[in-house]
């Protein structure tokens, strides 16, 4: 689904060049739930931005759903982003003057769906996150957890092939965070491919696999102890 090979990304100023990612390789298969962890400044968010086609990269290769994305122009990248990727942000990033339905409607508009199809998908995704009754509520009228659920509904509405979550519970209290993580796990069980960036080890263990990044490089691809134990039990 997502394959980066020897990828590099550097930020340059007049005097210094800083590598955010260096010789970075990762392979996320279809249906996987991968947690990307690492200390602040390790390159997690840069990886997610590149994975989400929000940012270009320097060297290396990146294949998304089998397609090489190097050299794509803005229109092509925007179309791919719209069709194949769903974003879940730490700060929810709902548009304040749009209600929940209209927020979910945004990617569907750019997708070119007709009105009936958009309405169907909005209702379906709101129902999926348990907020059918809150469609006309504005972000300011929703709790943090509900806002993140709306953001997840927005990410799901276009039936993306890949969900990218950047610290999805970072702005939530424990109870709300648990609810959001339960929802992500449920989506994964239903077949979604999820890449979640987090610095919280407790969240990371709920993923299928953890990828640890330090100084822009993958340093540990060891499977989660819980999953290893489960694998042993099965065998």
């Amino acid at each position: 689904m997502l394959k980066m090979t020897h990828l590099s990304k550097a930020y340059r100023t007049e005097v210094v060049e800083t590598f955010a990612l260096r010789d970075f390789s990762i392979h996320v298969r279809e249906g996987e739930f991968v947690a990307v962890t690492g200390p602040s400044g390790s390159g997690k968010t840069t990886f997610l931005s590149i994975a989400g086609l929000l940012e270009e990269f320097g060297g290396g290769e990146y294949q998304l759903d089998g397609a090489n994305v190097r050299g794509l122009n803005d229109n092509q990248r925007s179309r791919l982003r719209n069709q194949k990727i769903g974003f879940i942000f730490q700060a929810f990033n709902l548009i304040a003057d749009l209600n929940a339905q209209d927020n979910i409607d945004v990617p569907l508009r750019y997708r070119g769906f007709d009105g009936a199809e958009r309405r169907r998908r909005i209702q379906e995704s709101l129902s999926r996150v348990g907020l059918s009754a809150r469609g006309r509520h504005y972000p300011a009228e929703l709790s943090g957890g509900q806002q993140q659920r709306v953001a997840i509904a927005r990410a799901l509405a276009g039936s993306p092939r890949l969900l990218l979550a950047d610290e999805p519970t970072g702005n939530l209290d424990t109870q709300m965070a648990r609810g959001v993580m339960d929802l992500l796990e449920e989506l994964h069980r239903d077949g979604a491919t999820i890449v979640m960036v987090t610095h919280d080890p407790e969240l990371a263990v709920r993923a299928q696999r953890e990828v640890h990044i330090v100084d822009g490089q993958v340093v540990d691809l060891a499977p989660q102890p819980r999953l290893v134990a489960a694998a042993h039990a099965n065998s």
């Binding site: 929000l54 803005d74 982003r81 942000f89 548009i95 945004v106 750019y110 276009g158």
Partner: protein, 439 residues
């Protein structure tokens, strides 16, 4: 997507009412100022006869010569009017498709209705060609004939206002009218007709209404109707009396010729030069032929139909509009950059640069539309304010027309979109990754 972008634009404008009001006010004030002056300018500078302005020519003949030492006209020392000898000479030649010598005159009208007191009427002495040449519309009847010109007939064409006043608006064709104690038979009543400016005689009340009565030139000369217009004898009035005036080199008449094609105009130029050369041979002119033909547009420019002050005022007000637009551009930039995070989210959700560009540009267009409507209201106020400064004739012309509304709204929307191009371009350049990292 257009409807979607319009909805987004209205939502965005409601989100920050203060900025929105400031933008609309900046554009509205600029549009109001520029449209006020433009309305005055258009009233004064419009093409009074668009369908034929390239085919109608004012004739100028230098009958004073360079030795006269009197500079008339703009730069070429050519008089703006012609003398009676030249008027009759050109009429007798009949060298144009249509032609008419003419002069402003007037008389006392004594109504047959005893309830009405006698009053003065401004009139024009002209030839029958005057009416078809200038596309003059008739409500009743029509112009007199060329035979009436030759017969020096007692016929009159009157304006609809005069017809309303004297005949109660009824068809007065065939009725008589007492003008300066002579009975004239009405042959035609004009419909609404107001060439602006009154190009055929810019010396006399150029933004005023056309005359209310027209009589044959030949009859007016017979009756010795004096000129009520501009007269200039260049210091030599000639012999006293009416006959003296007719044979003098005083200029007090206008001469217009209709020349449908460029070839006709060229032939007429040659004819005019030959005419002047003949006058030279006859000993009347002691200088080389100096004649000019100018079509309506050239004539209005030559005569400075629009004063320099009005042109400067238009320039100043459009400069003011530019300043207002720059202000609006700054406000738009501030507004759009304040929404960079939302734009970043939209980009992340699949909007390409073109979609963001279109969304912001439509928002600018909505601001422009609102600014244009405010500008229209301010233009109305501006024109009211100008009434104390302008003459009654110009005031009468400076009214709101549908074309003014169209110009104001189009100008406002186009100018605002133009001013919005830079902020919109900046919006389209928003890097979604940076915006989202900054959250």
């Amino acid at each position: 997507m257009l409807k979607y972008y319009l909805t987004l634009a209205l939502r965005s404008l409601k989100r920050n009412v203060v900025l929105t009001v400031l933008m609309i006010a900046a554009i509205g004030v600029g549009i109001g100022a520029s449209m006020t002056t433009l309305t005055v300018f258009r009233a004064m500078a419009g093409d009074p006869i668009p369908a034929k302005s390239g085919q109608l020519f004012a004739v100028q003949i230098d009958n004073w010569g360079p030795k006269k030492g009197v500079v008339i006209g703009d730069k070429d020392n050519l008089q703006e009017q012609i003398s009676y000898p030249d008027a009759t000479g050109l009429m007798n030649a009949r060298a144009a498709h249509r032609q008419s010598a003419m002069y402003a005159t007037g008389f006392a009208l004594t109504p047959s209705n005893p309830d009405l007191r006698p009053f003065q009427v401004q009139a024009r002495a002209a030839y029958a060609d005057f009416f078809p040449m200038f596309d003059v519309p008739f409500r009743y009847g029509g112009p007199w004939t060329a035979a009436d010109d030759e017969d020096h007939a007692d016929v009159v064409v009157i304006g609809h206002d005069l017809n309303d006043k004297v005949f109660g608006g009824a068809n007065s064709v065939g009725k008589t009218m007492n003008l300066d104690d002579h009975e004239y038979r009405v042959v035609g009543v004009l419909d609404r007709w107001q060439p602006t400016p009154k190009f055929y005689d810019l010396n006399n009340n150029k933004y005023g209404k056309p005359e209310e009565a027209f009589i044959p030139f030949t009859r007016a000369i017979d009756q010795q109707l004096p000129s009520w217009g501009n007269n200039n004898c260049g210091g030599d009035a000639g012999a006293p009396g009416w006959e003296g005036r007719l044979h003098s080199e005083c200029i007090w008449m206008q001469f217009w010729a209709e020349l449908p094609s460029a070839a006709d105009a060229e032939h007429y130029r040659t004819f005019l030069n030959n005419y002047a050369a003949e006058q030279q041979r006859l000993g009347r002119f002691h200088w080389a032929p100096n004649t000019r033909l100018r079509n309506v547009r050239e004539w209005l420019a030559y005569e400075h139909a629009v004063s320099q002050e009005v042109k400067i005022l238009v320039l100043v007000s459009f400069s003011f509009l530019l300043v207002c637009l720059l202000n609006a551009m700054g406000l738009m930039l501030a507004k759009i950059m304040g929404r960079a995070a939302d734009i970043g989210v939209r980009r992340a959700l699949g909007a390409n640069r073109g979609a963001i560009f279109a969304q912001c540009l439509i928002e600018a267009g909505v601001v422009g539309l609102a600014g244009g409507l405010l500008g229209l209201a301010l233009t109305g106020l501006g024109l009211l304010g100008l009434r104390s400064l302008l003459s009654d004739d110009v005031n009468r012309l400076t009214h709101f027309s549908l074309s003014n509304v169209a110009i104001a709204v189009t100008l406002s929307v186009a100018a605002t979109i133009l001013a919005g191009l830079y902020p919109t371009w900046r919006a389209a350049q928003v890097q979604p990754a940076w915006q989202l990292k900054a959250q």
